[in-house]
């Protein structure tokens, strides 16, 4: 009778121990991986603000003047001027006065 009681007590202790170890292990894992998981975005910290599910790109609609022939002509002319401005050689390096020996001496 006493032997049976002792055996039951041992079983309970073992079960309690296993439960304690399991919960400790889970707690340790939780501490270690909680930061990592948040980083991966699997655990999103609650911000309290609603976030849109998808970003909606704003598309600009053309105005009544988008195809205006007058404006398009000015634009084309300006592009030409812009090209000319980029290509203009302002220094004229090739036309700088030539380097010459002007001090000619032949006597000691």
């Amino acid at each position: 009778m006493i032997k049976k009681a002792i055996h039951r007590q041992q079983k309970i202790i073992i079960i309690v121990l296993v439960l304690v170890i399991l919960s400790l292990t889970l707690a340790v894992f939780g501490v270690i991986y909680s930061g990592q998981l948040a980083k991966w975005g699997k655990i999103a910290p609650p911000s309290g603000e609603p976030t849109p599910s998808q970003e909606v790109e704003e598309v600009a609609s053309p105005s009544a003047y988008a195809t205006d022939s007058g404006l398009l002509k000015i634009k084309a002319d300006l592009k030409e001027i812009q090209k000319e401005l980029d290509e203009t050689e302002l220094y004229e390096a090739g036309l700088l006065p030539p380097v010459l020996d002007m001090e000619v001496e032949l006597e000691e």
Partner: protein, 269 residues
């Protein structure tokens, strides 16, 4: 009949002569003059190398042969130097002639100065052909040395005129676009389909850039106009003027970008 035929022939020949001479004068353009200058400059460099070697020989051995050789090489080098300068000035003058944005009055004044320089080196070169001694050749060389600062001043001022002309031409083109865009914005405002106050402000900004560009260009030209014969480092003054030219050019670029921005915005609702 024979009279008519001969008259026709004379007319045809006259026309042919007239057009062929025009074609010839057109053929000698800036590109050819520049090629000519580069060729003569190379000839000078080769002649100068030979002159230095002959001078060394003469100063070392003092023989009559070395002296004769030195005199010949000096004359060749000095002739090549005059030719290089003359062809350089011709190419500069032709570049000026084809540059837009330079007033006829200014073109005439600068061309006249360059022509005087060209004439000076032509006369100088002719005098070299009759030189018979080393001391004579050195004396003639010294004349060119004394005259050279004047040539440099004329060259740098001509370069400044060329760059200013190019800037003037570009500025005029941008101004024409500003005027057109101003009229267009006025039309948009009248139609009332779009707010135009922002465009008007940007247009004013572009106009300001043109004014600032002109101011920078004037300061460059003033620097070059005040270039003194005695100034030892004329290239340094030219570089300083160049800085202002660059800033002037930058303002033109900004003005163009502003105008394009207005057109882009006007196309968006």
């Amino acid at each position: 009949m024979i009279k008519r035929l001969s008259a026709f022939l004379i007319l045809t020949i006259s026309f042919w002569l007239l057009f062929s001479s025009t074609a010839f004068s057109q053929e000698f353009n800036f590109s050819q003059a520049y090629e000519d200058y580069l060729y003569n400059y190379n000839q000078y460099r080769a002649a100068h190398t030979e002159f230095v070697a002959a001078k060394q020989q003469y100063l070392t051995y003092k023989t009559l042969t070395a002296k004769t050789e030195a005199l010949e090489k000096t004359k060749t080098m000095l002739t090549a130097r005059d030719k290089a300068l003359r062809t350089y000035l011709i190419s500069l003058r032709l570049k000026l002639e084809k540059t837009p944005g330079v007033s006829t009055y200014e073109k005439n004044i600068v061309s006249l100065r360059l022509n005087n320089e060209i004439g000076w080196y032509e006369t100088h070169q002719a005098r070299l052909s009759v030189v018979g001694s080393i001391s004579d050749s050195i004396q003639i060389s010294n004349e060119a040395q004394d005259h050279h600062p004047e040539t440099e001043v004329s060259a740098y001022q001509a370069l400044g005129t060329i760059i200013a002309g190019e800037e003037n031409s570009l500025r005029d083109k941008i101004q024409a676009q500003i005027d057109q865009l101003e009229a267009k914005i006025a039309q948009i405002r009248q139609e009332g389909k779009m707010e135009t106050r922002l465009f008007e402000r940007w247009l004013l900004e572009a106009q300001n850039r043109l004014t600032w560009s002109k101011e920078k260009q004037f300061s460059s030209q003033s620097l070059l106009a005040e270039l003194k014969l005695r100034e030892r480092n004329k290239g340094k003054v030219y570089n300083e003027a160049q800085q202002s030219f660059n800033e002037s050019h930058q303002y033109l670029k900004e003005a163009t970008s502003f105008l394009l921005e207005i057109i882009r915005e006007a196309g968006i609702d």
